[in-house]
């Protein structure tokens, strides 16, 4: 019988009350930081600092141990050194808590036999106590709907459909920070560290059932239960895109990974083949993970490889390098840049001058790219092209701001937002330069409207190609 993960992991993602063991008045301690973050974001349930040295922490009554708390406790964050852990776990059992997040490190990852032994004992106690564990050696659970922050980070991102699984706490934070800055909207984030009790496969099955999650990104170091993982992955990825960044692609990394976990990590090639078989999209870096998640979040099921491009990179480059290398970048990723239909080119010629522009595809407006009156119908024509599934707009703010006012560039951004109302998706490349404050202002406008913005053409092309490739593959499977 299939496990009801939604019910089983409910106390992890939707606890009514949280106790933080190790919270203190020393703000540098992680226990204090976790509690502070929960208070800052406004966690709506009850909060209990646990520390025998204080009667009060952060304005809340503190308890010497979990057993002393008069009310039921759903979820416990443990942030005391490993030397004190057994007593706390015993208290969790005695208190009949429902879920435990162990931030505490110093177990199997030390490579010492003692660490592994301690883990075994803890797992046994948890099973007997009837509660699930996240960790040890991790920053735990982020739950948008339950206002639970990521570890000690004292703010919440916009809620949305992207779930993250990460074996590394640092990477979970990094994906969160970068994702939030670029407009990713998160449902759940799980940093699960040593995966003593719950691991990647369990959380993946949970996310399959979680209605808030449309899309899963994962950073994995190793999988103990390779067979079950692949079985689950195949099922989940047929319903929701799963994008995986797997550590250990170099020989040295693979050796380390192999000594760390099971057979599936023995060779990067085997891993890649398995992920492909499992229907996952494999990426090679944290940036590519974020890039790909953004593309899937922002784009519908694209039915073809054709992309219309418009280059509004600067005003001195009509007919020049930017549009040419843009087409190169797209085609290198297997996307198509179909020449606009003759009637489209004819209409473009009617509104745009012939010198200093390119009117097929990429559409390069050159010196006229700052003319909002021309840009509007030109973008509409590009978006109407039947062979093109999406519009990629290449903006270079430095190039524009040398010649145009910031207000004009805002008007261009508004046009982009408006262009999306045609129903076709728009993706933007906005390259870095010396006008970073203005760039962020414009990008913020675009990303908060749900448009995926990329810092380079190559990264945009690669992410777009992932989306078109995924849905093409999907169609093949279902036909």
């Amino acid at each position: 019988m299939k496990r009801d993960w939604l019910k089983e992991l409910y106390p992890l993602f939707y606890p009514d009350s949280i106790a933080v063991v190790g919270a203190s008045r020393d703000e540098e301690k992680f226990g204090s930081r976790f509690l502070k973050a929960l208070l800052t974001v406004g966690f709506p349930g009850r909060l209990y600092p646990v520390n025998p040295s204080y009667r009060e922490v952060s304005g809340l009554k503190a308890y010497p141990n979990l057993r002393a708390i008069p009310d039921p406790v759903d979820y416990v964050i443990i942030a005391v050194p490993a030397t004190n852990i057994m007593e706390v776990i015993a208290d969790c059992a005695a208190k009949k808590v429902k879920a435990v997040h162990m931030f505490t490190a110093g177990f199997r990852e030390t490579g010492l036999a003692q660490g592994r032994e301690m883990e075994k004992t803890i797992l046994k106690m948890a099973r007997e106590g009837g509660f699930h564990l996240v960790g040890p050696n991790c920053i735990g659970i982020y739950s948008a709907r339950n206002t639970m922050p990521l570890g000690a980070i004292p703010h919440l991102a916009e809620p949305g459909g992207v779930a993250i699984l990460s074996q590394s706490g640092g990477h979970a934070e990094h994906i969160y920070d970068e994702g939030m800055a670029r407009g990713l909207r998160f449902s759940k984030i799980v940093s699960f560290g040593n995966a003593l009790d719950l691991g990647a496969t369990d959380f993946l099955e949970y996310l399959e059932q979680d209605e808030d999650t449309a899309l899963v990104g994962a950073y994995l170091e190793g999988i103990e239960d390779g067979g079950r993982f692949l079985h689950v992955l195949r099922r989940v990825s047929s319903r929701k895109p799963v994008i995986i960044w797997k550590w250990g692609k170099t020989p040295a990394g693979a050796t380390a990974a192999s000594s760390h976990t099971g057979a599936l990590t023995a060779s990067p090639a085997v891993w890649s083949a398995a992920l492909r078989q499992g229907g996952a999209l494999e990426v090679e870096s944290l940036e590519e993970l974020t890039d790909t998640l953004l593309a899937f979040q922002g784009l519908p099921k694209l039915k073809g490889q054709g992309i219309a491009m418009a280059v509004v990179a600067g005003l001195t480059d009509g007919g020049g390098g930017a549009s040419v290398s843009a087409a190169d970048a797209l085609m290198a990723q297997g996307l198509a840049v179909p020449t606009f239909l003759p009637q489209t080119q004819k209409k473009l010629r009617e509104i745009l001058p012939p010198v200093g522009t390119i009117l097929h595809n990429p559409l390069d407006l050159g010196g006229r790219g700052g003319d909002v009156k021309l840009l509007k119908p030109a973008l509409a024509l590009a978006l109407a092209e039947p062979q093109c599934q999406a519009l990629l707009l290449h903006m270079r703010l430095d190039g524009l701001l040398h010649y145009l006012s910031l207000a004009t560039v805002h008007a261009i951004a508004d046009l982009i937002l408006e262009a999306r109302r045609t129903g076709k998706p728009v993706v933007v490349v906005s390259t870095t330069g010396s006008r970073e404050a203005e760039r962020q202002e414009i990008e913020k406008k675009l990303t908060s409207a749900g448009i995926a913005v990329y810092p380079t053409l190559d990264r945009a092309a690669r992410a777009l190609a992932r989306v078109t490739g995924y849905w093409k593959h999907d169609r093949r499977r279902s036909s």
Copy 2:
């Protein structure tokens, strides 16, 4: 006999006087923009607006044509439509000017026979008139030492040893903007467009002789004189690194390139082989061009592949993902991450706690990464490793600023600047996130001290590997 390019092109890079044909009171016209930029940066020579419709432009006396200017004119910027060009070229000859930059477009790049015919006539007139041409269809010459700005961009970068050749004006601007933001220091920049008179090979020979230039970056679309180009490239690249981004790597791009220029562009594979033979480093995008130039600008001749790494990415990731994937990224590029010597590890153990840190290489300070007192001796130990030629420091400002004050992060940046005094180079990876203003503040501190900063590990690793690979190759050739 070898041409004395320094003498021959002196009037292009060091004119005493510049006339701008087409400057007007309409600020939107490029002629006006070029003149304005020259005035804004403070070009030290004489400036003459040329326009029959005005007696004065931008506070300067305007002349109806070049012949009417009473004093000699070294350099002419032509920014009038192609229809008026012949008269202006004739005036250049009559006035005996020494160099001409043709911004004017609408010649061979239109694909019409007429455009090519006009170019032939112009070239003939220039040869007979004894002056050199840059362009047409380009933004011309940037000359740091002579206070000449890039086209219409009204500011100058810090002067330095990096020269840029670009067939595209837009790309020249983009390389300049991004390079300046990231700390590239330029000697000369040439946007040469259609290369009617002077082309890539000529300018490469000039830069070989130019003492201000230590390093050349180029964006090329095609080369007419393949044999001579390769011959010159081989010679120049044995003295100064030459980094080339060549357009037309996809089949469609190659076809376009082939119809545009000569045999050498017929196939991307042939081009790549030729560039390799010529000793150039080939890059695949504008970002990689900037990345590679930064690495060569900031690093000495590295004598080996060994890199020491320190991860100060956040405070929740000791022993975790960031340092592991960092090592992966370096090794994937063929760099080495040699384990620190036992005595180094011993010394590190004396100053750093064992839990939550990794003390071999990469050095991961985990929760102690914000402790400047520990970081200082730890970095010194990493830099002292004899097998390591450089230190790559991975900072994630979001990760740090969740836990540390901006002042502490500044203190870390100061430590990095100080660490360089050991004589070994330091390269920094600083990833984007939600604290962009602070990130730029810190990065500015590092880049203005000449440290190369990269937005991702992969890009840093790739750029570093280009430098170590180049000098290894170089040593092989000379041994």
